[in-house]
Symmetry: C2
Subunit: 392 residues, 2 copies
């Protein structure tokens, strides 16, 4: 038996373990210091009432032989397809129910979708980047080209016609930078993908943080996208489902893919290698789209965006440059005084008992930047900003 | 962009759609006939009380910011690892918690584990077979050899030293045949795998139906298995979790795999391509292992095995040969009077309004056999047997 030796090419993922080690060393030296974590990428608010009611209801159904549900469709239940169809229809995007696949999260499907694509396709990813896009392709042995996301292009790189790409990753609002593509910019990407006969893997996990009505929340707001793009979305950040596990993936019938029907291939992949998402989680996801659910998750996102606004105000007053915050839970700040990512990390930890995420952990263009998130409490966020102001 | 053309080699999976078409045509001709489905592969009894209580409790935790859980470990929570460790320890199998990976079901992991294995490994699968073993390898383009499971070997094929295999699939209790390997037989497989430096993918999804204390419920009851076998298990049939989605996979630290550390590779695969199982489902799975949970799921399995006993009694009285039923929810019967699978299917449908699964749908050696399951109600099972007796 031979193992897949591509795994040998993976670099260690030391970012979060290195952070944890530095934090625990600092805490050990200063046991009474109260450390505030501004780097957390997880939600902190509990599930909203509409979701909790739906969860209890689904559990009760599972307790009664008359309403018990066993295996569901691998692609998800019709009731959830319909709720998602209606959600997209609000933005005049018409989806067929067989184009919607319920997943246990965007991360799973972003990795698994690669099963459908030949191994010698050329992959294009921005730098800095969510490491999953890179590592899943290294595991399969595909060649990867990095596209510079940097201050010059507002961390929103545009297509370079001289590069032949087959698989393109775009994430907007972006993790880690918080930058959001405009419609015009996404049009350029769709045109490029159609021209190169490439496929765009569009990660829309943070779409619900967009408040600016001019900014696109789905790649399918762009003409031609249904011929070249797959969209991945999740209830994790929309409704605090990071522990509930539910998302969805849209694979249009009209995707061009060198003559292959990716919708039919994905259906076959999922029916063969997946058994669907928990019925209980799917009822919870349906409740997100109810009028009460929509209102309640908006209230929570408003809370996080309120934290982001506090941070933006503090950074403005300190003349620290940053991206994100207005339409994203992430703030990507330029380390002051020309500091590198880890030096600023160390400064904040040692002098202010604050933990952030060094941008260098997301790629070479992340050097000199740090990622803050809006997921802490209002009180901690305010205290963190006061501490930054005090030391800078 | 080029698609993975191995998908073109997949044969259509028409078995269940062909059954559905025949059934609906028959029902349309005879709208008043009451059809009983004896082919269902899904559980029908609701979740047990211990599980329902745990589910409601976990939902309530998710509703409160003090007890809310976001992202959990991709490999699953420690509380569930510990419950599984204790379950194996009862049979004197010591597992390290880092050898246990919580999954959303055996089907997902049986497919995804192939990510770790080189594409030119040689695959050995029995025939008849759970189609997932075959299709997942066709998708990846691996060569497959079929091993005859037939009347002569009691549908329990043993290793053939002249065949060089790298990846071996074993399922015991078997789907579709209900046959269960003895310890001595599994020893032969483990010895063969060690000799050939092959890996056994052991599907133990039906282990909880084993009542004979002499029969092995885990491959790790066999000396040497921790050097050559990965075990896949599920709460689907154990505790009616087909709609709840939770299972587990055991990847020992000591697996030999051409110098690679498959445990470390699987950890990397899961942390990169998976975000863990719903916290709510994991608390439900934990409750299965509580004293009340164990008693309650045993009661449900006893009920299904009671159905199987009714079927065995009827088949015995008709002198119809069969396998399974005693330690399995499946009964694999030889069609009487030399009928082929679909002829017997048609006879039962037209003359007795019964639906079974034709064995030919599981591979060439399934021809002449049909699969019945114990998952219907006691009343329907008794009525189905009375109808079979009436026509044969």
């Amino acid at each position: 038996m031979k193992a897949n030796r591509n795994y040998d090419k993976l670099e260690g993922s030391y970012l979060f373990s290195k952070i944890a080690k530095k934090v625990s060393e600092h805490q050990a030296l200063h046991p009474d210091n109260v450390i505030i974590r501004m780097g957390i990428g997880d939600v902190t608010k509990p599930l909203c009432d509409a979701v909790v009611t739906a969860l209890h209801g689904a559990v009760s159904e599972m307790a009664d032989s008359k309403t018990f549900r066993g295996y569901g469709p691998e692609q998800g239940y019709g009731f959830l397809h319909q709720a998602i169809q209606a959600y997209y229809q609000k933005r005049d995007i018409a989806l067929d129910d067989k184009e919607i696949f319920i997943s246990d999260g965007a991360k799973s499907d972003l990795g698994n979708i690669l099963d459908l694509l030949d191994l010698d396709n050329h992959v294009l990813v921005p730098d800095p980047v969510y490491p999953v896009y890179v590592d899943t392709n290294i595991m399969a042995g595909r060649p990867i080209t990095f596209l510079d996301a940097c201050e010059e292009n507002g961390f929103l790189p545009l297509p370079d016609p001289s590069i032949q790409a087959d698989i393109i990753y775009l994430c907007s609002p972006n993790n880690p930078t918080g930058a959001v593509y405009s419609k015009d910019q996404l049009c350029q990407w769709v045109d490029y993908a159609l021209e190169k006969e490439a496929i765009i893997l569009f990660d829309a996990a943070y779409e619900s943080f967009i408040r600016d009505p001019e900014l696109p929340r789905s790649i399918y707001e762009i003409p031609g996208a249904k011929e070249c793009a797959i969209e991945f979305c999740s209830f994790s950040k929309t409704a605090g489902f990071t522990g509930v596990r539910c998302g969805y993936t849209i694979v249009p019938h009209t995707l061009r893919a060198g003559g292959a029907n990716l919708n039919r291939m994905w259906t076959r992949r999922q029916t063969t290698k997946f058994n669907g998402v928990s019925y209980i989680s799917q009822r919870a996801a349906e409740a997100v789209f109810s009028p009460e659910g929509m209102q309640q998750v908006k209230t929570t996102i408003d809370y996080y965006l309120g934290n982001a606004a506090l941070m933006m105000e503090a950074l403005d007053s300190l003349n620290i440059a940053y991206l994100g915050g207005a339409n994203s839970p992430y703030i990507w700040l330029k380390c002051p005084n020309g500091m590198d990512s880890w030096s600023f990390f160390d400064l904040l930890l040692k002098q202010a008992n604050l933990v952030v995420t060094p941008g260098a952990g997301f790629g070479k263009n992340g050097e000199g930047f740090c990622r803050l998130t809006a997921f802490n409490s209002r009180e901690n966020t305010a205290e963190a900003m006061a501490r930054i102001k005090a030391i800078l």
